[in-house]
């Protein structure tokens, strides 16, 4: 896939960045294989953007080391800049200029001659469906269009590594899907993509490996499967016809699914978090549970099966957002340990 020499695209060891008293990035170790999409997942303020900025040579680390394709981001910043592109969280194009002007400007700065710069700009605008808006100032673009022109600006020269910092935050589902298509097309041509996101499903859709960051630290790292297994297989949401039967249903589910069952505010609703301990899939477990409930004469009005949400991932991994009844694992032992324990389990 990749056109580079062997070795990881990114390697960081104990990366630290402090702003005053705050340790925004507090010892991050990452290894990003070349030619893949690597997801960095975390809530606002977790240190995702700061990490990306250090890797893109925009911020100087206060500690640790970071290498991009073997080049040190501080000592060999220029080599790194020649191989990476960054699409920041906020549109990193000039709002006063038109789409075409922005792309031509950047193409010229990358060393293209006037004619090639214009051709390349026109081709990219065409591919991104922006030909009609090419002559409009970017400040009149919609959110989805901004994202597109932004990514177009990042691939004027095909980069070896593309940083996408929360590329779909604030986009409608349709625009988000289109950004996902773009990311897939980029990585298919051999470019490594480092994607930060707040959404588990986005990381799930695109990334082959994921690092979960919280409070400046990597609290879990692994393939999607490994991560999900660490927080259980998902949740079953039920609505019963009769509120009086809820305690009974709760007890049944707890026994059957070896799961943690929570009554909701709604007196007929229940949520069960499925464990990953059994070899059965979430759907199989849920089907068995439904069967048992029916046999016991408890009528289930609606039923849904959800993937673990980012909230659940965080609760399971850190415990710090969890209430008294949640946050502990479902019999798999995850989530109860300290950060390092959890990390070991997931990566194992």
């Amino acid at each position: 896939m990749s056109t580079h020499t062997s070795g990881p695209a990114i390697e960081t060891v104990g990366l630290v960045k402090t702003f005053g008293e705050t340790r925004a990035v507090d010892g991050v170790d990452l290894t990003v294989p070349a030619g893949t999409v690597y997801g960095v997942l975390g809530p606002n303020g977790a240190g995702k953007t700061t990490t990306v900025k250090m890797l893109a040579t925009l911020l100087r680390p206060d500690g640790g080391e970071a290498r991009v394709f073997g080049h040190d981001v501080v000592r060999e910043a220029d080599e790194v800049r020649g191989r990476v592109s960054l699409t920041g969280q906020y549109a990193s194009v000039d709002e006063d200029l038109t789409g075409t002007e922005n792309l031509v400007l950047l193409a010229r700065l990358l060393g293209h001659h006037k004619a090639t710069a214009r051709t390349r700009a026109a081709q990219l605008l065409e591919a991104f469906g922006l030909t009609e808006a090419a002559g409009k100032q970017v400040k009149h673009y919609s959110g989805g269009m901004r994202r597109r022109i932004d990514i177009a600006a990042s691939i004027l020269n095909t980069p070896d590594l593309l940083f996408l910092d929360e590329p779909t935050t604030g986009l409608d589902p349709r625009s988000r899907n289109q950004v996902w298509d773009i990311v897939r097309a980029v990585v298919a041509q051999g470019t490594t993509v480092l994607l930060t996101t707040q959404y588990l499903d986005e990381a799930d859709q695109l990334a082959s490996r994921i690092a979960v960051i919280d409070r400046g630290r990597v609290i879990a790292e692994g393939t999607k499967g490994e991560l999900k297994a660490s927080v259980g297989a998902g949740s079953v949401h039920l609505r019963l016809r009769d509120a009086d039967r809820r305690p009974e249903a709760e007890r049944l589910l707890r026994e059957l699914l070896v799961a943690e069952v929570q009554p909701e505010h709604d007196p007929v609703a229940l949520t069960a978090r499925l464990g990953a301990a059994t070899s059965d899939s979430a759907a199989e477990q849920a089907a068995r549970a439904l069967g048992e409930l029916t046999r016991a004469g408890i009528t289930v009005d609606t039923f849904s099966l959800g993937q673990p949400s980012l909230d659940e991932v965080f609760m399971a991994l850190t415990g710090h957002d969890a209430g008294p009844d949640t946050g502990t694992g479902t019999g798999t032992g995850t989530g109860t340990g300290t950060d390092t324990d959890t990390k070991d389990e997931v990566a194992a």
Partner: protein, 282 residues
């Protein structure tokens, strides 16, 4: 953010992943552009911004004209007997004052750009580091030229006659542009250093007002108290105003020109590196 007139994505053409893939196949990169080329490209950006937001030329057209009219008729009679006599003395001075004052907008535009993401994009490019800053200053040089031409035209209408003729006037303006370019590195520094547009503006005012008024732009410093003379006679703006006044009058004030260029060199040597340090660390 600004005015977002969202033409939502429903009427937006789809992304063509096939043509995208075709574009991405080429991994060849052109050779790195020279520092001159990137600086000129950034200068071109500044011109495009003027094209899209022509209102920003207000400060280089209306403001200088206002200065010239105001000071000529306000002080003219009292200081030189009549506005007609005074304008011979004061026009080169007001030209210097107005252009040096306008330079402070450089800091504001740098500061506004940082607020937006585009700055990060520029900083992540593999190009000669100061070129973004030089680009601002090149764009500004155009603005200063416009201001100079506007003021001279107005001055001619009011009765100003340059003894130095066309050559003298052009030489005077050229020196003014060189000085302004060098002096502006103070503003790029403030633009990068201060957090808000407003603070950049107020700090700039604090620097620019004493510096331009405490000079020989309006009056001969001989009537000032000794301590003030000491400051005024050594101010870079005084050297610049004397040089420009001399050149436009057809003289060749070599000492004053040397002092002016010396100050210009000093500004670049001190504030250039500080600016670049802030730029790299931002």
């Amino acid at each position: 953010m600004s005015t977002v007139t969202s033409t939502e994505s429903k009427d937006l053409a789809p992304v063509s992943t096939e043509s995208l893939a075709a574009l991405l196949v080429t991994r060849e990169r052109p050779p790195r552009p020279s520092s001159l080329s990137t600086s000129l490209t950034f200068g071109w950006r500044a011109m495009l911004k003027i094209k899209h937001v022509p209102e920003q030329l207000f400060d280089v057209t209306a403001f200088p004209i206002m200065n010239l009219l105001m000071f000529t008729y306000l002080f003219g009679g009292a200081l030189a007997g009549s506005p007609d006599d005074y304008i011979q003395f004061v026009l080169p001075g007001i030209l210097v004052m107005s252009v040096v004052m306008i330079t402070m907008y450089t800091g504001v535009s740098v500061n506004i750009d940082i607020e937006k993401g585009v700055f990060d994009r520029f900083r992540s490019l593999p190009i000669w580091r100061p070129s973004a800053m030089v680009g601002y200053l090149l764009g500004d040089a155009l603005r200063y030229s416009i201001a100079s031409v506007v003021m001279l035209a107005m001055g001619l209408l009011l009765g100003y006659r340059a003894e130095g003729g066309f050559v003298g006037v052009v030489a005077g303006i050229a020196l003014l542009l060189v000085f302004s370019f060098a002096f502006s590195w103070i503003w790029t520094m403030f633009g990068l250093m201060l957090r808000t547009e407003k603070s950049v503006m107020s700090v700039s005012m604090m620097v620019i007002f004493p510096l331009t008024f405490l000079s020989n732009v309006f009056v001969d410093p001989r009537t000032m108290p000794g301590w003030l003379q000491a400051f005024v006679n050594n101010s870079p703006v005084t050297h610049l105003a004397s040089s420009v006044r001399g050149l436009m009058a057809g003289d060749w004030p070599a000492d004053e020109i040397a002092w002016t260029l010396g100050w210009a060199g000093l500004f670049v040597a001190v504030f250039g590196p500080v600016t670049m340090r802030l730029y790299n660390r931002k």
